[in-house]
């Protein structure tokens, strides 16, 4: 007897698809540049918020959202490759790809916060570093995108593989959240409460606000000499 369970909770699903949209939008605005570069920066901050949310949710979310449920140790990966994994949610290889994607995105966002484009864009934390370091981090930001592109291609290829070869549609569960499991295993799923969601949302909101508003920069930088409002007349 099987029963439908919500293997992917709603916050997780919203996170996933928002992230997909954000990454596509960030890539597009970054490539086009011009007046869109400011949107690239704003979307980057959205990705930051999403990543912080996911990090917290990985500890207080529902069972299969938690990192503990899919953390890819070498032992677990071996068991999976030999066909011995019988869980739900991310299998150890899927878990590895999740962590790789989140990690690379974190590096991209992290470097982007300090980046500049020598034209008219400066990352919100670029004031905290000198130009040489900002240039260096910008270089890394641009190069590491290629790694992300590779990982995303791999991710999509895996989904297609599951669809065509394993005849398993992984997209639908990531939309509806539902998966059929044996009745005996349904109770393993523990839901997360609204309180947990609000806490995770609040913390990620505070982090993004601290950066966006300039408060974080003020915190780290000594008080600046106030520049006179009028430009010198020569």
């Amino acid at each position: 007897m099987t029963i439908r369970i919500k293997v992917w909770d709603l916050p997780l699903r919203i996170f996933h698809w928002l992230l997909v949209a954000s990454v596509v939008a960030a890539f597009t605005t970054g490539e086009l540049g011009g007046l869109l570069i400011d949107w690239h920066g704003r979307i980057g901050l959205l990705v930051l918020g999403l990543l912080v949310f996911r990090l917290i949710w990985g500890f207080i979310g529902s069972s299969y959202a938690r990192f503990a449920s899919f953390f890819p140790t070498p032992a677990r990966i071996l068991v999976y490759l030999k066909g011995g994994w019988k869980g739900h949610g991310h299998n150890p290889l899927g878990g590895l790809s999740v962590l790789a994607l989140l990690g690379i995105l974190a590096i991209l966002v992290g470097t982007g916060l300090f980046a500049n484009d020598d034209i008219a864009f400066e990352g919100p934390l670029s004031a905290l570093v000198n130009k040489d370091l900002s240039d260096s981090l910008t270089g890394w930001h641009e190069l590491i995108f290629n790694v992300l592109a590779g990982l995303v291609a791999l991710h999509v290829a895996a989904i297609v593989f599951y669809l065509k070869v394993k005849k398993t549609n992984l997209v639908i569960p990531m939309v509806t959240g539902e998966k059929s499991v044996p009745v005996t295993e349904a109770s393993k799923l523990k839901h997360a409460g609204t309180v947990h969601f609000v806490v995770a949302l609040a913390v990620s909101g505070i982090v993004v606000w601290a950066i966006f508003s300039g408060e974080l920069v003020h915190f780290f930088q000594p008080p600046q000499v106030v520049v006179p409002a009028t430009t010198q007349n020569w």
Binding site: D117, D118, I119, A120, D132, S136, T138, T231
Partner: protein, 156 residues
Amino acid sequence: MKSKLLIALLLTLASSAVLAGKAEDAQIKSRQSAYGFAGWNSAKIKDQVVDHPETYNKDQVIAAANAIAAVANSGLGALYGPGTDQGTGWKQTRLKPEFFEKPEEVKKVATDFNREANELAKVAATGDIGAIKTQFGKLSESCKACHDSFRIKEAR
């Protein structure tokens, strides 16, 4: 006799290396200065026209746009002599060797930059903030086009 010849040869090589490097480094330094100056003016325009339009000062934006146009019209091509993909101005150059292999594309990005910079100077004179903002966007794209094609991504 042989050793004197050898010393003379080595000195000639050494001095030519030093002297040859100097000319390239000077070109690199000048163009880095030019773009840095343009960047300062670009930031001013962005601040007054895009980020904080309540601070818009028509004359300052005109001056900034004229400065960028002056840079664009100053004949920067002369600062991209052969071999200037190697060398150090204020800092090590990030010019890609491809620059010297794709003269058609170089001509395009250079002409686009000139065109957009001159257009921005024209639009700045009208005082129409919306139009200045739009043209500033186009100018930014032309700066980016050359960076994307001919500037090495890793900062040095």
